[in-house]
């Protein structure tokens, strides 16, 4: 039981750090397959961020991506890349989830 809780709540998740290119934009590709890989994305605040969601499955669970802070809900077609562009306005953690809030990821702006 302890292990179950440790594994789901505290174990280290995959993380990625995006660094801005010459034009100041940051690019990250997220693989969507039963979850988000990487699920934690570290970026610079105030710079445009381009997330490419590469959905490699047909499972209905991940068919939508939601960024509640940006009022954004988008359909991710199966086996395609979908680009989401946003700019984290200030430093902070911005969660993203699937349409039913079962899969979780976050953008940490610094």
């Amino acid at each position: 039981m302890l292990w179950v809780n440790w594994y789901f709540f505290f174990a280290e998740r995959t993380a990625a750090t995006a660094s801005p290119d010459a034009t100041g934009r940051q690019d990250v590709t997220v693989i969507v397959r039963g979850g988000y890989d990487p699920s934690t994305i570290r970026v610079k605040a105030g710079r445009p961020l381009r997330l490419v969601f590469d959905r490699q499955e047909t499972s209905g669970c991940s068919e939508e991506i939601v960024f509640p802070d940006f009022n954004l809900r988008k359909f991710l077609p199966s086996n395609q890349r979908t680009i989401i562009e946003l700019t984290p306005p200030t430093a902070g953690t911005y969660e993203f989830t699937c349409g039913m809030s079962m899969l979780h990821g976050r953008v940490i702006a610094e």
Binding site: F8, R33, G34, G60, V66, L103
Partner: protein
């Protein structure tokens, strides 16, 4: 031409049957760069044709999708030292919906196929397991842990023995192995999705519905497998070698069935968007080179002249330049009566022309069109979340691990308790195990995840159908909490267009009403005052001829004077009359009465003598009174805000039936008034046209803008009404309240379902009532709990306009 970086691309079919892609390329400075990229691309494997455009900054490539991909092409370009991007698939809302529909339809068909097949296998498995249970010592009666199966067995065994006695003659190990194969096949084919997805989630340190089903069914399967392979082990420990294969198959079948129903129901939540998509005609008839020709909707250009015949659907937005007709705008505005349209009036694409014909100039196209704006607002609303969702989110994120923990705890508690009560070790294991599986299976996080989004989805669709665009879940929620509605007077409660209401002749004057009106209108024709416009329009409607005016003079704050047909005419207030020493006593009572009614009276003097009185007012919209009465009946305080003087404001307020009138408010002061109400603890909606009350709309808790013309998306507003009358405000609030109620019902049901279901499955009722939940019944409950939530949201589609 501006060298915009084109990020938009479609994937049209290339002639070769391959695909075509437009890739934005950066860093090209000269023709040599262009040639170099083109050469490199052309030589890449899988490329049929490549053309690079320096000016446009992109590369158009036809390629064989089997041999290469846009990503590879981008890498190829990057390898040459230039920047390139995988093109964004900028989809329109309609295309996105189509893609989603296709995906959901495929999903539904697959689910249905698998649900039916596994259901058939489940029934076979159940029949085959009958002799197995009967073969157990005591005929299985004593120890079959699953109460549902025990019931099935008792009622099914006698007829089964009579119909297929040979089944009972087959050796039990053979039956066990047969079931093993059948179950394994079902799990691998129909149940595969659960296991694959559970594993995927697990690798991401997360867990979902699939995890629960996978763990539950796998546990039952593995237990049965060990029983089948090593029955002796169980017998020596005093446990009957029962198998649970049929439960595994039936659980998979039931959950697939539930998922299929859910997929179908979820599809229905998007009906409104599909209906809007169908409104857009594919072609338009335009005039080019003096000829009428049909062109694709994408080819219509700004300022094109569009020809519309009776009964046709208007292809684009525009302004009528010739002809007249009544246009049915109900599909966009919810207004059921066709609207009369004349030259100069705006018409909206997707509405239906009545019996007349007309020509109009195309004004807004594509993404700027009213239809596209409505769809965009609706999509945005559906993408937003209601604050109420936060609670569901918090529970969802910890749900599955908690349930797994409860299941483990259930097993331990049962085992220890049964052991202590002296049960045989093996029997304790079986019962504890069954309860733990039931816990895993009955828990349903889906219902919680679907509770709020499906309600937002259905209600924003319903709103769009009624011409009410609510921008998001937060607005919906606030609309449900309102206590006060503030209405702007001009253009919201009233028509916003002054009209002549009274023409009174002076008793001493010989002129007829028409003659008087002609004199006044002639003077006012030269004036630019809004009241003057009302008089001229009125004269036109009354078919009164106008004469030329000499020496026209506008006296600011007083009126206007001039000479018409040799007569000196003055039209204005008491001050103007005093200037010309005109005695107004004979009509002073009338003037006072008209003022008290909220009208603006103007004296008319001809050659120094009082000739009459003409009154102008901004009439109340015919629908305002009823709508305001409804708002008050809904328990809301209705306040009217206006810049007019107290007397006029009171008169209009009385007629409209509002609770309170705040007069003499300058546009800037409207914000302060809203803030003051908010300080008093009121939740305030501000309703206006969004033009001179934008700030007040923004300040209020719920800004409602009555959309005018073709600009649907009033920035500051939370709700845009496509229709001018206040009935839309009533509907918007009512719909929001209903939606909130639905969300709460859904959340309540989802929570209560789990809060009650999980303990029952864990067996808390057993010590008191001897009630234990069968894993099979648990799976049926789980499968239909999410269907019921979606169905409840779908009830909002039946929302009736009040």
């Amino acid at each position: 031409m501006a060298t915009t970086n084109i990020v938009h691309t479609e994937m049209p079919r290339a002639p070769s049957g391959g695909r075509k892609v437009v890739i934005p390329v950066t860093g090209m400075t000269c023709a040599a760069c262009e040639a170099r990229i083109q050469r490199t691309l052309s030589k890449s494997p899988g490329v049929v044709d490549a053309s690079v455009n320096l000016m446009m900054g992109n590369a158009t490539v036809s390629f064989d999708p089997a041999a290469t991909s846009p990503e590879t092409l981008v890498d190829t370009i990057r390898a040459t030292g230039y920047g390139a991007e995988v093109p964004t698939q900028e989809r329109t809302a309609f295309e996105e919906q189509e893609a989603r529909d296709r995906a959901q339809e495929d999903e539904f068909l697959e689910l249905r196929r698998k649900a039916i097949a596994s259901g058939v296998v489940g029934v076979i498995a159940m029949i085959v397991s009958m002799p197995l249970m009967a073969a157990a010592p005591h005929g299985g009666q004593g120890t079959v842990a699953d109460p549902f199966m025990r019931w099935v067995m008792t009622s099914l065994t006698p007829p089964l023995r009579a119909v297929v006695p040979w089944l009972y003659a087959i050796p039990t190990p053979l039956l066990s192995y047969g079931l093993l194969v059948l179950t394994l096949a079902t799990m691998a084919w129909a149940g595969r999705r659960f296991y694959v997805r559970a594993w995927m989630s697990f690798r991401h340190h997360s867990a979902d519905m699939n995890t629960l089903i996978a763990v539950g069914t796998s546990a039952a399967f593995i237990y049965s497998l060990i029983v089948t392979l090593a029955p002796r082990f169980f017998i020596t420990h005093g446990v009957e070698p029962d198998v649970y294969y049929e439960a595994v198959v039936i659980i998979i079948a039931l959950i697939l069935t539930g998922n299929a129903f859910e997929a179908r129901a979820k599809r229905q939540t998007a009906t409104a968007l599909r209906a809007l998509a169908r409104l857009q005609p594919k072609t338009a008839r335009v005039v080019r080179d003096d000829r009428e020709l049909d062109v694709g909707i994408d080819e219509v250009r700004h300022d094109d002249v569009v020809v519309v015949r009776p009964g046709e659907r208007l292809p684009v937005d525009g302004e009528i330049i010739a002809g007249r007709s009544a246009v049915d705008e109900s599909m966009l505005t919810g207004e059921s009566i066709p609207v009369e349209k004349h030259v100069g009036d705006r018409v909206i694409g997707a509405t239906i022309n009545g019996t007349g014909s007309f020509r109009y100039r195309a004004t807004t196209l594509g993404a700027d069109s009213v239809l596209a704006q409505i769809v965009k607002l609706m999509r945005d609303a559906q993408g937003s979340r209601a604050p109420i969702q936060k609670l569901a989110d918090r529970v969802s994120s910890v749900f599955v691990p908690v349930v797994i923990s409860i299941a483990v705890a259930t097993f331990v508690v049962w085992f220890v308790a049964l052991h202590a009560s002296g049960a045989v070790g093996g029997a304790a294991v079986v019962r504890a195990f069954s309860a733990a599986v039931a816990v895993l299976i009955i828990a349903c996080p889906c219902a919680m995840g679907l509770a709020v989004p499906t309600a937002v989805m259905v209600s924003s669709g319903k709103g769009a159908e009624l011409g009410i665009l609510i921008k998001g879940g937060e607005a919906l929620q606030r609309a449900g909490d309102l206590t006060t509605v503030v209405l702007d007077k001009t253009g919201t409660v009233t028509e916003g267009r002054p009209t002549v209401t009274d023409v009174i002749r002076s008793g001493d004057d010989a002129r007829s009403r028409e003659e008087l009106l002609s004199l006044v209108a002639s003077i006012e024709h030269s004036s630019e005052h809004p009241l003057a416009d009302a008089i001229v329009r009125y004269a036109g409607e009354q078919r009164v001829a106008l004469s030329t005016v000499e020496g026209f003079q506008s006296v600011t704050g007083r009126g206007a004077t001039g000479v018409v047909e040799g007569h000196a005419v003055a039209v204005g207030n008491t001050a103007l009359m005093a200037d010309y020493v005109v005695d107004v006593t004979s009509l002073a009572t009338d003037a006072a009465r008209l003022s008290a009614e909220g009208k603006t009276p103007m004296y008319v003097a001809v050659d120094g003598q009082l000739a009459g009185l003409i009154a102008v007012a901004d009439p109340i919209k015919p629908t305002s009174r009823a709508a305001i009465a409804q708002l008050r009946a809904m328990g809301l305080d209705v306040i009217m805000l206006t810049g007019d003087n107290q007397r006029t404001a009171d008169a209009v307020g009385r007629e409209a039936g509002v609770d309170r009138v705040v007069a003499g408010v300058l546009p800037e002061a409207k914000v302060a008034e809203i803030a003051r109400l908010q300080e008093q603890g009121e939740v305030v909606a501000m309703v206006g046209d969004g033009i001179n009350d934008g700030a007040a709309i923004a300040r209020s808790d719920l800004g409602v803008a009555i959309a005018s013309g073709t600009d649907v998306a009033v920035e500051a507003a939370d709700v845009a009404l496509m229709r001018g009358d206040l009935g839309g405000v009533v509907q918007a609030i009512e719909l929001s309240r209903r939606t909130m109620r639905t969300m709460k019902q859904n959340l309540f049901w989802a929570f209560v379902y789990n809060v009650v279901g999980i303990p029952v499955a864990a067996g808390v009722l057993y010590p008191f009532f001897g009630i234990l939940l069968s894993p099979i019944l648990a799976s049926a409950a789980m499968a239909f709990s999410s269907v019921s939530v979606v169905s409840n949201s779908l009830r909002l589609r039946r929302f009736r306009a009040v």
